[in-house]
């Protein structure tokens, strides 16, 4: 394309709204238009009006009457046209071309600035939401009535234990209930729950807290602990998760903003759907390190009130972690209870503050129980 020639879209040639592409040659005396369909038109420069237009305000609009009488509207996007006219164009168009160049720069700057501000506000809103999400979850959890929480907990228990045997008798059940009954009287009054322990016959090495006062204990964990006091520590720890509503908070955090906002506005329906859908995956729900430390600290206080030796509690995790790499089953409880080393340090610091005392043993022959459980398993 020769210098001083610019591509554009030309209206006003026939049907209204129909355009034809062409090339505009901007000479000093006249603008010569060569349309792609072969037609040629001439616009004397004294009949030409220059402006900005188009959807983004950045098109250069050349309007004028051709020598043959057509009222033409030419839309161009080549900024070099204005550069050309401001230097080499007829005197009447030079100043307008310069003004349009300035207007174009302002439009572009404004568009870039407004996009940048919009994206920055979007990022800021996202960051604010991320920061405030924990606070929203706390408020939403507070809005769920205990009766709804209990129903949600039952859905979780059913989902976790749906294809497994729930024990109601036998040595494992009786041992678990003996520990449970030592702990319950030491739980501070004032909570809204009916605390329930579900013993599930399953090799998974784990215990879970579900919403609404429900705790699930797998017999696989009972075979891994070395004493009733170790298990009492774990159950006391899970009890604190329940009392502090950690499972509900964890589920809400996983469920996302829509469920949290729905709950805040009094619609627990979305939360029920999420729990029905994902309740079975509660075993994969891990708590924050802060929540774990809080559950540890309060568990030790509960054990002390129940007159159970609290120093045995961390032994289980210490032992499991030392052989964790070789024990796939251990990964379940290790993965859902993060930060063992710092938790151990915090627990040891708490133990040092305890008065020297002799605790009352729970009184279960744990080695005998494990042998009975293993024997029962082999006998199946």
């Amino acid at each position: 394309m020769p210098a001083g020639t610019f591509r554009g879209d030309v209206f006003g040639l026939g049907d209204p709204g129909q355009s034809c592409p062409g090339s505009l040659e901007a000479a000093y005396e006249e603008f010569r238009l060569r349309l792609d369909d072969g037609r040629q038109l001439v616009l004397p420069t004294d009949r030409i009006k220059l402006s900005r237009g188009g959807f983004d305000g950045l098109h250069i609009i050349v309007e004028g009457q051709a020598e043959t009488g057509e009222n033409l509207y030419i839309s161009l996007q080549d900024e070099l046209l204005l550069d050309h006219l401001s230097h080499l164009g007829p005197a009447g168009l030079r100043e307008t071309a310069r003004q349009l160049q300035q207007q174009g720069r302002s439009t572009r700057t404004w568009a870039t600035l407004s996009l940048t501000v919009f994206l920055a506000l979007l990022a800021l809103a996202g960051f604010g939401l991320w920061l405030g999400f924990g606070w929203l979850v706390e408020r939403a959890v507070g809005m769920v009535p205990p009766s709804v929480e209990k129903s949600l907990g039952q859905i979780v228990v059913e989902a976790v234990a749906s294809d497994k045997k729930k024990l109601t008798q036998g040595p494992a059940f009786e041992a678990a209930m003996k520990i449970w009954n030592r702990l319950l009287p030491a739980v501070p009054a004032g909570h809204p729950y009916t605390l329930q322990l579900h013993v599930i016959d399953d090799p998974m090495v784990n215990a879970l807290a579900a919403p609404g006062g429900q705790i699930i204990l797998f017999t696989g964990l009972m075979k891994e602990v070395a004493s009733a006091e170790e298990l009492a520590g774990i159950l006391a720890h899970e009890l604190q998760h329940v009392l502090k509503k950690h499972p509900l908070k964890g589920i809400m955090q996983k469920a996302g903003l829509a469920v949290v906002l729905g709950t805040l506005f009094g619609d627990a329906g979305a939360l029920t759907v999420v729990i029905r859908e994902y309740g079975g995956k509660l075993a994969e729900l891990s708590y924050s390190r802060d929540q774990e430390r809080e559950a540890d600290r309060l568990a030790v206080e509960l054990l002390v009130r129940a007159n159970i030796d609290p120093t045995r509690f961390p032994e289980f995790f210490r032992r499991l972690q030392s052989k964790g790499g070789n024990l796939p089953a251990a990964l379940a409880i290790l993965s859902t209870h993060p930060g063992h080393e710092e938790r151990e340090q915090a627990l040891q610091a708490q133990f040092r503050l305890l008065p020297a005392t002799t605790y009352e043993p729970i009184g279960i022959d744990w080695a005998g129980l494990k042998a009975a459980l293993t024997g029962a398993e082999q006998g199946r």
Binding site: G17, Q18, S19, P21, F55, S75, S114, T272
Partner: protein, 227 residues
């Protein structure tokens, strides 16, 4: 390269016939059937930043699919995800089009599709979103609508009113303003129209016969409440 509309109407589809070496790009997942001479691959069109911008700002897929006649001539059939018509636009290098988000269906590989802002208030009130797509370059472009699609051609300075959420595409020379449907707010709201787009020529404007948001509201009344 030849674009044809097959079965125009509510379930329209396009057939693109390609000579060996030619390629088109299409909305991700839009390919229905193709000749074995063609290869299909995902492509981050416009570079990672351009694709991210398009995906984040207009809700389009991060990837376009490129369909290339690598081993000889062949044809490909392409259809949009929602029921609706398809129309074909020509980019001649001098013109360009703006598309409402998600109306891009397919185009010549040389056509560039990028996300652009249409301004805060227009984005908020037009029903077309804060960001729209701009198609530039030279080649054929196929766009899809929800419901049927209709074109009006406006002379320079000619105006027309289109209800918001019904605009599908418009030429780069067309501008629009969002305004009340009636002179008073009460009348605007009670007429059921609320806000409308006043488009100004010159250029072509394509609008769709159905409003996706209104259809969503209509269908929600038949969905049982959760619980």
């Amino acid at each position: 390269m030849k674009f044809e509309i097959i079965q125009p109407g509510s379930y329209a589809m396009i057939k693109v016939t390609l000579a060996r070496g030619e390629a088109i790009k299409a909305e991700s997942g839009a390919m229905v059937a193709m000749h074995p001479n063609l290869d299909v691959e995902g492509k981050v069109d416009g570079g990672m930043f351009g694709a991210l911008k398009r995906a984040v700002l207009t809700g389009e897929s991060l990837f376009f699919q490129t369909l290339k006649a690598s081993r000889g001539d062949g044809e490909v059939y392409i259809a949009p995800a929602v029921p609706g018509d398809v129309t074909i636009l020509e980019l001649n290098g001098a013109n360009h089009f703006f598309l409402q988000k998600q109306s891009f269906l397919a185009s010549d590989d040389a056509v560039s599709i990028e996300a652009v802002s249409q301004g805060f208030f227009k984005g908020l009130l037009s029903g077309e979103g804060m960001f729209i797509q701009k198609a530039t370059g030279k080649g054929t472009l196929a766009i899809s609508s929800f419901g049927s699609i209709y074109k009006i051609s406006l002379a320079p300075g000619q105006q027309y009113i289109v209800d918001n959420s019904h605009l599908v595409a418009w030429a780069g020379t067309v501008t629009y303003d969002v305004q009340k449907a009636s002179s008073g707010w009460f009348s605007s709201v009670t007429s059921g129209e609320g806000l409308v787009c006043k488009v100004n020529g010159p250029g072509d404007v394509w609008f769709q016969s159905r409003n996706p948001g209104a259809f969503g509201s209509w269908i929600r009344q038949f969905i049982p409440a959760k619980g």
